[in-house]
């Protein structure tokens, strides 16, 4: 008797495998629900206008907020975007439009590898590069660290989106006597615009939540940001400092800060996916 041909048993095994896979998916969703649940439950009570607009109060005084950290985070993201976006989009364009096989392969591989380098190491790198030479912690150093983190993501998504543009479009444009660079800038990149924007938003969402590379580049501050060459507070670092502090009301504020951060990140990533996803579908 060969059990391998026992249909009923094989079907049972298959059903069991199916159930286990469903179970795995459900188990994976539990932590997501729990985290969102706790962030909302613990964060919402501490959330108010003061929290969003006020400076932190000294230890022992209640009230105050993370206004400076929110502004600081926006500032850091802004610096990172100014440096990282043009570089990333151009690098992606190079990979997709000027396909010199060997160099592109190398750059692509290195971009993928760079995106796998732990963010704390990028922090150490920028520290040795900028903080040591400028002799102080600065918003600029923090922004550069974030820019390096977003560079590979932006480059690779730009490349992938440009590759999805059909070659007939390029050929048509060139046949009309339009130069290559104008073709790329005003036809190819424009066509792939929605996809590239999604990639950019996802990259921004990722760096908005980064803490480790800011710990010793942008450092932190308890005042409003004053300049590019000064330490600056950021939402993730503030959450971290408050979370590991021994004070109960700081823990409250850490939860509220997390709520703001999670909303910010989800708006950026989910919003852009939904918005641009729909737009791209309508183009097709």
């Amino acid at each position: 008797m060969n059990n391998g041909f026992n249909r009923r048993r094989r079907n049972a095994i298959s059903g069991l495998a199916y159930l286990l896979c469903v179970l795995a998916t459900i188990i994976a969703l539990i932590p997501l629900m729990l985290i969102l649940f706790y962030v909302i439950r613990q964060g919402a009570p501490a959330m108010n206008l003061d929290f969003l607009t006020q400076l932190p109060k000294p230890v022992g005084e209640t009230g105050g907020g993370m206004g400076n950290a929110i502004v600081g985070s926006l500032m850091l993201i802004g610096i990172a975007a100014v440096i990282g976006l043009p570089l990333g989009v151009l690098a992606g364009t190079y990979l997709a439009e000027f396909r010199s096989p060997r160099l592109s392969w190398t750059v692509r591989l290195l971009a993928d590898i760079l995106s796998g380098v732990p963010s704390i190491i990028i922090g150490v790198f920028v520290y040795t590069l900028l903080v040591l030479t400028m002799k102080h912690f600065s918003a600029l150093a923090g922004g550069v660290a974030l820019a390096i983190l977003m560079l590979p993501t932006v480059a690779r998504t730009t490349e992938e989106m440009l590759r999805m543009v059909p070659d007939t479009l390029r050929e048509a444009s060139l046949a009309l006597g339009i130069s290559r660079w104008r073709t790329i800038v005003s036809i190819i990149i424009k066509t792939a615009g929605g996809g590239i924007m999604t990639g950019i938003m996802l990259a921004l969402a990722r760096i908005a939540g980064e803490t480790a590379p800011l710990l010793f580049t942008a450092l932190s501050s308890r005042t409003w940001p004053t300049g590019l060459d000064k330490p600056v507070a950021s939402l993730p670092v503030q959450i971290y400092t408050y979370a590991i502090s021994p004070y109960e009301d700081w823990h409250q504020q850490a939860w509220a800060g997390s709520l703001v951060l999670v909303i910010m990140v989800l708006l950026l990533s989910v919003g852009s996916k939904l918005y641009f996803g729909r737009k791209m579908r309508s183009v097709r």
Partner: protein, 327 residues
């Protein structure tokens, strides 16, 4: 590939005005420079960290890797407790995350009804969007206390005689760090494995089905073997992320540079010690030792990523070949 992408094409294009030709050259150079920055960053990264680590490398040599002393007061530094904590927490995380991720990937690519695949995949990927400091916050105040009161006492009470489950339990420690890490790397591993499972040519699955294979047998015999390099790549990428994850781990692992057999004991990782100590040191051997730790972590993650990318590329290439053959 179409001819327009071939730089050495023999076609005579319509002559362009000089200004436009200049524009083409300039654009090409600028784009090239942007692409070259990526190469430059990696090169600088390695050089800078190596230079920063030199004092420590000179002082301790290879002994740095095996020494368990971490004593800033007497300027004695050894990396072993951190290497140990990093490896054990990450490998434990893989142990939890890989079976779950594969289950998800198989479900989302093979079993789930069509309408459910996109939304479910999207929700699983949301796990990757949550910032690691939020994982850490949740880890300290919710997960670690929960594990410390339920699962950890259960194991240490019933299996405490086995060294890896020995008490005392604190909640914070290797085990909690591994659980948080597992949740964090789950979307990475499941998304990439799903991708390589979707790349398996359809006719191979249909061949198995035509021979009377059950759905699971189809997966086991035609999907998994072909997707294997991609899955291994995904697991390695997940490992790379776990090794380098900083904030969440720092917040729940207990930050104690000790090597203990028990998985419930507090430990320390390379990334965590850098996060905790780097901003406070100004110079000297302490900083060099921290930078050397960063260099070790960088070396490990560079190698793992290289390996993983080559493996993932391989399944992609094989799928592309399969498609060409059918066309």
């Amino acid at each position: 590939m179409s001819f327009i992408n071939n730089q050495r094409d023999k076609f005579r294009r319509a002559p362009l005005p000089a200004r436009e030709r200049l524009g083409d050259t300039l654009f090409r150079i600028i784009a090239f420079l942007a692409a070259a920055t990526i190469v430059l960053i990696i090169a600088l990264l390695v050089i800078q960290l190596f230079r920063g680590a030199i004092p420590s490398i000179r002082e301790f040599g290879f002994g740095f890797l095996s020494s368990t002393e971490w004593d800033p007061v007497n300027d004695l530094y050894g990396a072993w407790p951190f290497i140990y904590g990093t490896l054990v927490s990450s490998l434990l995380a893989l142990l939890f995350a890989v079976p779950l991720s594969l289950g998800i990937a198989i479900f989302l690519s093979q079993f789930a009804p069509g309408w459910l695949r996109a939304p479910l995949g999207f929700i699983v990927e949301l796990l990757a969007a949550i910032p690691s400091v939020v994982y850490g916050l949740w880890g300290i105040f919710v997960l670690a206390p929960f594990l410390g009161e339920t699962i950890e006492p259960f194991f240490s009470d019933h299996f405490g005689s086995i060294p890896i489950f020995a008490g005392p339990v604190y909640g914070v420690g290797l085990f909690s760090a591994a659980v948080v890490l597992a949740i964090m790397i789950l979307p990475t591993i499941s998304a990439i494995s799903r991708e390589s499972m979707l790349n398996v040519p359809r006719d191979l699955k249909e061949a198995a089905q035509a021979l009377g294979a059950t759905p699971w047998e189809t997966v086991r015999m035609s999907v998994l073997p072909l997707a294997r390099p991609g899955i291994i790549g995904a697991v390695i990428l997940g490992l790379g992320r776990a090794l380098g994850e900083t904030m969440a781990v720092t917040m729940v692992i207990g930050n104690r540079p000790e090597v203990s057999a028990s998985i419930f004991a507090p430990a320390y990782t390379i990334a965590s010690v850098i996060a905790n100590e780097f901003a406070e040191v100004t110079a000297g051997l302490h900083m060099a030792a921290l930078i050397e730790l960063a260099l070790i972590l960088l070396a490990i993650t560079l190698l793992l990523n290289l390996l993983a990318r080559l493996l993932v590329q391989q399944t992609g290439a094989r799928a592309a070949r399969g498609k060409d053959k059918r066309a």
